[in-house]
Each structure stands twice: as C-alpha cells, then as structure tokens.
Amino acid sequence: MSGPIVRIEGLAKRFGAVTAVDRVDLDIERGALFALLGGSGCGKTTLLRLLAGFETPDGGRVLIDGQDMTGVPPHLRPVNMMFQSYALFPHMSVADNVAYGLRREGGGGAETDRRVGEALDQVRLADFAKRRPAQLSGGQRQRVALARALIKRPKLLLLDEPLAALDRKLREGTRFELVRLQAELGLTFVMVTHDQEEAMSMASTLAVMDAGRIVQVGAPHDVYERPASRFVAGFIGLANILEAPGGRWVALRPEKIVLSAARPDLPHASAGKVVDIAYEGARSLCRVALDDGRTMLAATSDGAFRRGQDVWLGWAADAGHPLDE
Amino acid sequence: MRLVIALPFVWLGVFFLLPFALVLAIALGANAPDSVPPVELGLSPKNFALLFTDDLYLAAWLTSLRIAAVSTLAALLLGYPMAYAIARAAPARRPLLLMLVVLPFWTSFLIRIYAWMGLLDENGLLNQFLRWSGIVADPGTLLGTEWAVHLGIVYAYLPFMVLPLYATLEKLDVSLLEAAADLGARPFAAFLTITLPLSLPGIVAGCLLVFIPAVGEFVIPDLLGGTGTLMIGKVLWDEFFTNGDWPLASAVAICLLVLLAGPIALFQRQQAKGLERRT
C-alpha cells in the first residue's frame, strides 16, 4: 500500500463557542514519528482524540489507511492510544491490562499468553505480570500503557503527552526508548506534546498548532531553521524578530549572533550594552540593549562578559530567516 | 443509554411523580366516610381553606416550623464542633471517629427514639439520676414535652448534620489558616474569616438535611411529644389513620410539599453543584 497512513481533510471541532480544531488539512506519512506541538488549548489533544474517535467532528473527515473513519466508533478503529494518565485498569493485573485488547477480539488461551509475554518482554516488565498497576512506579506504568497499546499492532499509535507524567531524569531515557521502539516496529506514531524540546528530539516530522490550526509542518530541523511565522519562531526555541527593509520580518536565532568586545568584521554589526546574563551551563544567553533602542538576545560560550559591559553584535548576511508574515 | 435513562425515569415518574397528582386530586375532594375509599371527588378548595383558617392547624404549622428550626440550630451547634474535631484529628483515626457518628444511623430510627422513652420517663433513668445526685429534688417529666421532641430530633438527625460539615471541613486547606495567622489573624479571627465562610456549603447542606425531614416528622412527636405537641406530620397521620379523612390528610401533604419545595430545591441545587465541582 502506498499513500499517507493518515489523511485529514477540513477537520473541524467546536465546543460551544470555542473552536478547538479549525478546518485542519494534514497528511501523516507511513512510518513517521509525528509530533503535534503546541501550547495548552491549541487543539492538539482534540485532534488526537478525533483520530481515536473519542470526539465526533463537526466537519471534514479522517481517512486512516485510505478508509473513511467518519462514524466509526473508537472500538472499531485500527488505532490505539497511550493516555496521558496511562488509564491502566486498576482492578486488573499488568498481564490482564495488556491482554485486554486481544481478548476483545475473542482471543484467549495460549496464543494470547504468548503475545502478552512477548509484549512485556519488549518493555522489560516480564517479572511484573502479576502485579496491580498501583504497585508499579511511574516509569513502569508508562511501559505497561505502551505495551497495552501496542499489542494489537495498530496501524497508528497515538500518544497523548507520553512523557509528561515522568520525572525529568526518566524522561530523557524514555525518549530514546520510544524512538527505538518506533524504529524497530516500523509503526506510525502520532504524539501530542507541549514540550518543544521533546518534539524536536524525537519526531521525524512535527506540526506546530496554534488556535486550532496547523501553522507549520516539517522536519524538526527545517522548522527550527526556517520558521514560517513569528509564532513558530517564538514558540520553537528563541528568536530575535527583526524588521528587514521592505516591511518584511526576519527571525534571527541567538546562536547565529557573534558577541564580541570589538567591532566584528561581519555584514551586520551593532553596538550595545549587556543588560542581563542567563548562565545555562554550555552557553550563556545575553540580553543586549542596542544603541538604536532595540533589545536582542545573543548566545555565547565565552563566560567573560559582564552586565553593563559595552559589546558588539554581528551576524552573517544569511543568518536570519525571512518570515511569511 | 436511552434505556438507562428510561428505567429510573419511568419508575420514578410512575411511583413518585404521578402519586402527587393523585394526592392533589384527592385533596380537592370531600370526605365520604361511607364509601370505599372514603373520598368523593370534587374541585373544592375547602380543605386548604380549613388548614389556613382553623387555629388548631395554624398552630400545628407554626409549631412544626419552630421545632424544626430550633432543633436544626441545636444540631448545628453540637455537630459543627464535632465535625471540626474529626477533621482535625489524625488522618488515620478519622474513619473510625466518623464511623462512630454514622453507626447510630444504621440502627433502627424507631429504636433510637424508643431508647429515650426509658430515659425521659417520669421515673426514668434521667430523673432517677437527678434525684439520686441531688441536683434536682423534684424534676418534672421531660417525656411528653416539646423539649423531648427537640432532643429526639437532634439525636436522630445529628449524623446528617455532621457528615456534610465534615466533608467541607476536611477539604479545607490548612495552609489557608497558616496564611491567615501569618497575616496577623488570631485563631478565632481566622476561624470566623476563613474556616466558617469556606464551610458554608456544608452548613447549608447539613441544616437542610435536618430541617426538611424534621418539619414533617411523625415518630418523634408521637413517641416523645405526647398529646401536647402538635406537629404537622402527626396531624396528617391522625387525620388519615384516626379520623379517616383522606382529603384533609392529602391537603396537609400538598401544603407540606409546597412549604418544603424551596428548601428541597435548594438542597438539590447544592448537591448538583457539589458533584459538578468534582468532575
């Protein structure tokens, strides 16, 4: 089969007066690790729930593997979801949780047991099969939820903020594990996240959402380097938004700026004074008040700069990226 | 889902709502002692008129409201500190302390009221104790007075007061009181300005849960109040069972319902609000 695994056409969803998803068109390629990124209330979770079938669209349609999903209830969709809260059934053991989906297909007996064992092996929880969810740690619960959602080999795995409930240290390791699993299984993952770092580091493709619309789709590198709008430039990473000749706007990343005590030999150079320094370990971020009244952010790995110091900012001719709006 | 809604809806419609229409129809009829059932249907408001003109019935209405109000207040004054103490007790001990409040509710209502009969009788244990200890040489009889009715209502309905109060007090964030103290409020001022206003939903729910059934109470005035205490629930009972006047008893029921419609609606709104907050 060819063509995108998911095709979304003019999809819309309103809750009362609020438009959560506003005529979205989107294709998701087979085998992608696709991230829906946006702030809270941007409609990303609603979009995910429309894919799963928990919400009924007010307009448009969703095709999964070429099949129109309109009117198909959640339990008949070839899609599984990992919930943000994990939604593990508290009255069932880990094994019963994982087996739940297979048993709904009428499965049972040795074959189900074998597949449950395999799934638990895959997430390194074979020794925990008999436990109840309440007896597991946060990370273990997350892996049970993953195993449960994967056991039916869905065409599409939906992940709602998959790492949000984990503490920071565990999150790093789990990121890699999810990426590894996705590559191994060759499934399409669609995940929702508000954490741009998470989206950047995991996704093969990401879509930035704002106010119910998708404002940019692309590979993380492309979106970072070539943001389409001021919103994207500001939402993903830090950016200085400069006015270019001809009334156009340009996004300039702080790390594209050279900070120096003497005037640099670059096409663009401005003098200013350091007003704030935020030390971030590998680099420091300086807020510089330029003599012409503008304020800009510049990154430097040189720790020698002090607040109040007179400095020069310089950047190359192609350092900035022109914005559409 | 439609079936899930329909089953209770139809059941309650037939067994709860429809009967009130019948009560209203009967209340507009006349007493006919010789027929079975003893009712002659009609459209006369004279039963209602009687309830609001006859001194005896008027007195019964006022007595019911007064006794219910005073008892509710007494139950609040006793129940609030109890609920407060349980909410402030060590978390591990709270379930037991709460269970001790609820336990009497699970025993028979009738038997709890009965328990006071032996205590309040002229030669009952209370008077025996008073005479023996010399506190009161010649105590009167409490049984058969309004005092006994108040006592019985507070006793019987105390759990209904404590439970909602505890529910709101237990949720109260202790750091709010610490913040108040930090800003210079003495404990009593903190109580008046923080605890009391925040426990208001519990106070309202508790008072309604005591007041509403107390107004129409029958067993307590019948067993503890004697012939002297005329409460409207007892009037209804006597009109129905003793005098066999179904229309008049029905009119009493309709009036009681109208009288309590406000408090019942208030209680219902509070319940709905409370549940919505939790979802």
């Binding site: 809260s85 709904r104 449960r148 | 006071w116 009972w237 129905f240």
Partner: protein, 262 residues
C-alpha cells in the same frame, strides 16, 4: 489549639449523647425486672421471650424478605439513575430527572406515604391490583431507596477517570463490554454499599410501610411501633441490642467496601 480542645470536648460529649441511650437499652435487655426502669439483676429471660415471640419473628422474616427484594431492585434502578446523571450531560427532561432522583431522599415520609397509598388504591380501582402487602411495600421501599443508591453511584462516577473507559473502547471494547469489564467492576463497591443502605432503610421503615401495607402484613417496625406506643417493653430492648450489633457489623462491612473502592 484552645479552639481544637473545645471541639474535641464537644466530640466526646457528642459521642456520649449518641451512645448513652443505646448503651442503656442494651444493658437493660439483660434486666431481670419487668419494670424497665429498675435494675432487678442479670437475666436472659427477655431474650428467650423474644426468640419465642412468634408474631415478632414472623414480622422480622417479612421485613427481611421485603428489604432483600427492594434493595436489589433499588440497586439496579439506582445504578441506572446514577449512571445517567453522571454520564448523560444533556437530554430532554434532565432537570426534572435530577429532581426526581434526589427528591425522595428529603421528602417527608408522611407525604410519600400518603401519595403512594393513593397510587395503589387508584391502581386497585383501575387495574384490580396489586393487593396491598408484600408487593406494595417492596415497591414503595424501592422508590424511596433509589435516591440513595443513585447518589452513591453518581459520586463514585464523578471521581471516575473517564480515560479508563476510553482506553477500553480504544482497545476494541464495545460500550456494553466497556461497562461490564471496566466501569462496573470499579463502581461495584459503591453499588454494594448503596444496596446495603437501601436494605437498612427498608428494614427500618415505619411510616411509608404503615401507609401502603394491607391489613394482613405486619413488618418488624410496625410491630415494634405498636408495642412501643404502649410504653417501654423489655423485649424491645433485646431487639434493640440485636439491631445495634447487626448494624455495627454492616457498617464495618460497608466501610471496608468503600475503602476498597477508593
């Protein structure tokens, strides 16, 4: 902490107030004297008398059967009502429905009693039945108890994580299978404690029963009432003792169920 000390003193006083009368009744169930206010030595004669009291035992048996039937019916209807209230956010007549479910909880019993009797009298005239007795009492008790089960179920469902049900459907469970395998097992303790509440309420009810019972049916509270009206009766002390002990056991059970459901 002076305020808290006052509160704890009141708590102690409250417990004394609640338990002293019951304690005395229980103690006097072992009183040898016929006079209920005079202690005449320890005896179990009233226990034997009660256990040989055929009318009382028959009434208790009738009450138990009614309680069993009405609590079970109320659990089913109350489960449906609580589920509808918690899950169906809007449907025509939802306001009326919410009112109907909760109103019997606070409705004065004399009002409910007379209205239900009139319904049964009307049904008898129009449909020729049912005869007043077991069935009418059980119907009345069910109607009255639905509210209590519904409230408990609704409260439990309000705390319920909806994503559990969504997860089940996502894994291929139809709505009915979802209810059977996920929702019901998780709210079962609430339903059970609602059933227990309905059972107790039915066992205890006097007023509603008095209205809708026919001439032949005498439930336990009706027997107790007619005996108590004439004054204090040592056999009732014995019955009270049994009731308190059974209630304590039931409460421990229900507390255990609620803790398990939390």
């Amino acid at each position: 902490m002076r305020r808290a000390r006052f509160a704890f003193t009141m708590l102690g006083f409250g417990y004394a107030f609640l338990y002293l009368p019951l304690g005395l009744v229980m103690a006097y169930s072992f009183n040898d004297s016929r006079l209920v206010t005079v202690w005449g030595g320890f005896s179990t004669r009233w226990w034997s008398a009660l256990l040989a009291n055929e009318a009382m035992l028959q009434a208790a048996w009738l009450s138990l059967r009614i309680a069993l039937a009405s609590a079970t019916a109320a659990a089913v209807i109350g489960l449906a009502a609580g589920y509808a209230l918690a899950r169906a956010r809007s449907f025509p007549g939802r306001g009326l429905f919410g009112g109907l479910v909760i109103a019997p909880m606070v409705m004065p019993e004399v009002v409910m009693g007379i209205s239900m009797l009139l319904l049964f009298v009307g049904a008898e005239r129009l449909l020729g039945g049912p005869d007043r007795g077991f069935l009418t009492i059980a119907l009345a008790h069910t109607t009255f108890s639905v509210a209590f089960v519904a409230i408990v179920v609704q409260a439990r469902l309000a705390d319920f994580d909806r994503s559990l049900e969504e997860a089940a459907m996502d894994l291929g469970a139809t709505p009915w299978v979802t209810f059977r395998t996920v929702t019901l097992p998780l709210i079962a303790p609430a339903v059970a404690s609602g059933w227990l509440l309905a059972f107790t309420l039915s066992l205890d009810d006097l007023i509603l029963t008095q209205f809708v019972a026919g001439a032949q049916s005498q439930t336990l509270p009706m027997r107790v009432y007619s005996s108590v009206r004439l004054g204090v009766d040592p056999q009732i002390n014995v019955l009270a003792t049994i009731v308190v002990v059974v209630a304590a056991a039931a409460l421990v059970l229900s507390g255990w169920l609620t803790r398990r459901s939390a």
